[in-house]
Amino acid sequence: MFKNYLKTTFRSLWKNKGYSFLNIFGLSIGIACAALIFLWVENELTWNHSFSNRDNLYLVKDQQAYDGTIFTFDATPGVLAPSVKAEIPGIKRTTRSTWGNPELFSLGDKAIYESGNYVDSSFLKMFQLQFLEGNAANAFTQLYSLVISEKMAKKFFQSTDVIGKTLKMNNQRDYVISGVIKDLPENVSFKFDWLAPFQIFLNQNDWLQKWGNNGIITYVETEPNANIAAINKKLYGYVQTKEKGANAKLSIYPMNRWRMYNSFDNNGKEREGQLKFVNLFSLIAWIILIIACINFMNLSTARSEQRAREVGVRKVLGAGKNKLVAQFIGEALFLALLATFFAVLIIYISLPAFNSLVEKQLSLDIFNPLHLGGLLLIALLCGLIAGSYPAFYLSSFNPVKVLKGLKIQSGGSAGFIRKGLVVLQFAVSIILIISTVIIYRQIQHVKGRDLGYNRDGLIYTTLTGKMKENFGVIKNDLMQTGLVQNATLSSQSVLQLGNNTGDFTWPGKDPNKQLLITVDNVSPEFIPTTGMQLKAGRNFYEDIKTDSSNVIINESLAKSIGNKNIIGSIIQRHNEKGELYNMTIIGVIKNFIYNDMYAPAAPLILFSDTSYVNYLTLRLKPNADMKPVMAKIESIVKSDNPGYPVEFNFVDTDFNQLFKTEALIGELASVFAILAIFISCLGLFGLAAYTAERRTKEIGIRKVLGASAKGLAGLLSKDFLKLVTISCFIALPLAWWIMYSWLETFAYRIKIDWIIFLVAAILAIVIALLTVSFQAIKAAIANPVESLRSE
């Protein structure tokens, strides 16, 4: 029986090569897209799964309330880790870590910046790093030791057998390599190539000893079966027991939620992080699969007349309905398997491009039971979903009618379902088109936002070596080239400012209200270099010492202070001894946007102080050809600061990077829109061919009676265009609702323009028209003698 079905399936496929191709190809594309998305989803869902101990690993979160808003930080006091390990039951180990600094490592002539962290030795054991050379127990026995990644070892030494060898850090000191660890996979929360003992960082940063200063990350490993609620209860007011006025409320946050969640609203409540994209893309994958299955269903039922006689004969010969259903579902499953096979080929071909788009290293391994199982499951689902309706439809044919040669009625419920499916396909495609356009416009809108300074021609680099001390020389040399307008130093980059405190106060301030204020230490050239605007008062004087007690604030802070005579007014904070000292506000700058590009500017204060600065920023003169300019600038800086490779970053490039996620969503939406339309058109093409074939006799008669080719083409296209028009009526309000809800999540957003909807609708109709017109025209110009004779 099975052999008989298989033979019939093969031969039927071969007999209708065109339709078989449309069917299999459409389904393959749908399956390939869905599978690629699911590979991405798998990568996301297995984030940090290489850490087998992850159920017991946590990050300490620090929540601080200011002026009615709860901010959630990962920054914790430097003294927290050893303290909680000793004092809170249930905590097995703790470790501290810095944020991931690029440091310069050199070996002979080779000098490369590598990113890494200063960590306690417990880090090596808690995260069970796999040592290729050395071991976790002894790696940090010496103070100036270094554990490096396999990649970094090969970069410098072309080998991992490097224990005992040294690398110089920042041209200052040699570090002895005490361990080489296996490269971590891409889907983990850590990106480091070196680890060094935290004690080194602690020795250089006294402020870490104070409970009121939050500046490093703390990780916690709990005992298995520890009472997490009890630990959190103890942690909540823990800092306050060490420093009475501290604002931080601590809790531990599980590693299993770092990727999918780890986002907090203004009330300190956890919300979805990456999970919303995982859900979105999974949904899109299923939608594409469903569209492909709909195609299959439509093409199968449309061709049903060809199988009608066979169904009739089989029934006459004794096949029951169940046997026939099984036969046709079996055929659908076979086709789905064939489509899956071709989908695998498509996946292998398109993976490099997809990986480049999503910036991951995804791979398909058909020997991986999960991947193979997943593919077979998709094939099974597609076969069942796509095959069920045609199977039941075909097996319900009345043998009496079909053997008489009576035409199967394509109207009635079968025709209605077929039309409904076309409407659904096009509705989804139209929604995707509209979404693509709106997402793109929203991104462009935000990118075009006035940041409060001119980011074109603004470049920056991290300070290394003696750049800070030699700043005057460097600035002069650069300006003498005629290529640089100005230069400045700052503690943070102009796009990302992470230093903040609630410590400021001023006369008339409500003592119960705390305001979180961003702090930046800058050289006096900061405002003219960046192009920020002074709304009141003056800039800092060239001589830094003159303005040592003066500050410049932004409009948001000025508004919060609410003093009409803001210039010259006093603002205060505590010094190291805990005493309040006064500073005078000498200027107010127009708000500039930093950190969250969608939000209004948070309060900010500038100090004229280059004691703790990290960045050199240059304003370039306008120049068409950047390459030689950059080469010149880099060579000057390098000669004034020898021993350190120089790399400048463009602020506008970094700015664009901030929208990476939204840009990715936009690109994916456009790819899916194109695919959805393509698959829908495949189906429409097939249906149009079928319809034209069915109406051959009618067309022949109309031609004989005088109908023009144009009129006939129109007659055949009309019905399909009606369907697409109905799709528009369904899709447009839905798309509006979806996009409106998405845009609502942005404080800074576009208004939805009705033109987009009109264009999308017209586009869909035009595409449908082009698709069916080929078949319509072909039928309309056929010789009526042939069409009538064949009937």
């Binding site: 029986m1 008989n4 033979k7 019939t8 031969r11 039927s12 007999k15 006689r309 066979e310 009739g312 004969v313 089989r314 029934k315 006459v316 010969l317 004794g318 096949a319 029951g320 309905k321 046997k323 043998p399 009496v400 053997l403 008489k404 040669g405």
Partner: protein, 225 residues
């Protein structure tokens, strides 16, 4: 073998009611060869469909081999049909995707006969109708006469008690037609009951009895000598 009494079949659409069979009664004995004749629209095909358990009457009695089958459900009809009845159609109704051998094999597959037994019986019957040399060909590669021979082979491969033939020579020339009628006659001589619907007086003479129908009723019955 067959006894029908007061059989009625009415086709209803929204506007029109057509009485296809109007209280029809007759019987057919084992081993008889009966021809059913009449003008277009007289109800012959409807009668054949009911006799072949492809359709059920609206009222009346239909006793097949002693069993009342008039209101059997589709499953029971299919079961009875595949074990007892073979069909020969005017337009052959072979499955284009299957070879001659596979077409003839199909009823045995539905009966659950094992592969080697099937092979034996199919080859036997193909030999009988002299089409064995084309067993691996497809229907499109055969002439009309050859296709009908294959259809006859398919009809008899499960040794049915009854063969129903609906205009078996309608699409054939006279020489092929005679060949097919000869085959049917030989089958009948071997004991198979045959009921044949035909327009052809010539073909009807191969039968033992001719039943003429008009407007859903029998008008005359002639027994041929």
């Amino acid at each position: 073998m067959i006894k029908i009494k007061d059989l009625e079949k009415i086709y209803r659409t929204e506007e029109v009611e057509t009485v296809a069979l109007n209280k029809l009664s007759f019987s057919v004995n084992d081993g008889e060869f009966v021809a059913v004749m009449g003008p277009s629209g007289c109800g012959k095909s409807t009668l054949l469909n009911i006799l072949g358990l492809l359709d059920d009457p609206d009222s009346g009695s239909f006793i097949f081999n002693g069993i009342e089958v008039a209101h059997f459900n589709e499953r029971k009809r299919a079961d009875l049909r595949k074990r007892n009845i073979g069909f020969v159609f005017q337009s052959f109704n072979l499955i284009d995707e299957l070879t001659v051998f596979e077409n003839v094999e199909l009823p045995l597959i539905y009966l659950g006969v094992k592969a080697d037994e099937r092979k034996k019986r199919v080859e036997e019957v193909l030999d009988k109708v002299q089409i064995m040399h084309r067993k691996n060909h497809y229907p499109q590669q055969l002439s009309g006469g050859q296709q009908q021979r294959v259809a006859v082979a398919r009809a008899v491969v499960n040794n049915p008690k009854l063969i129903l033939a609906d205009e078996p020579t309608g699409n054939l020339d006279s020489s092929n037609g005679n060949e097919v009628m000869q085959m049917l006659m030989e089958l009948n001589e071997q004991g198979t009951t045959i009921i044949m619907v035909t327009h052809s007086e010539h073909d009807a003479r191969y039968s033992h009895r001719i039943i003429r129908m008009l407007d859903g009723q029998t008008v005359t019955e002639n027994i041929l000598v």
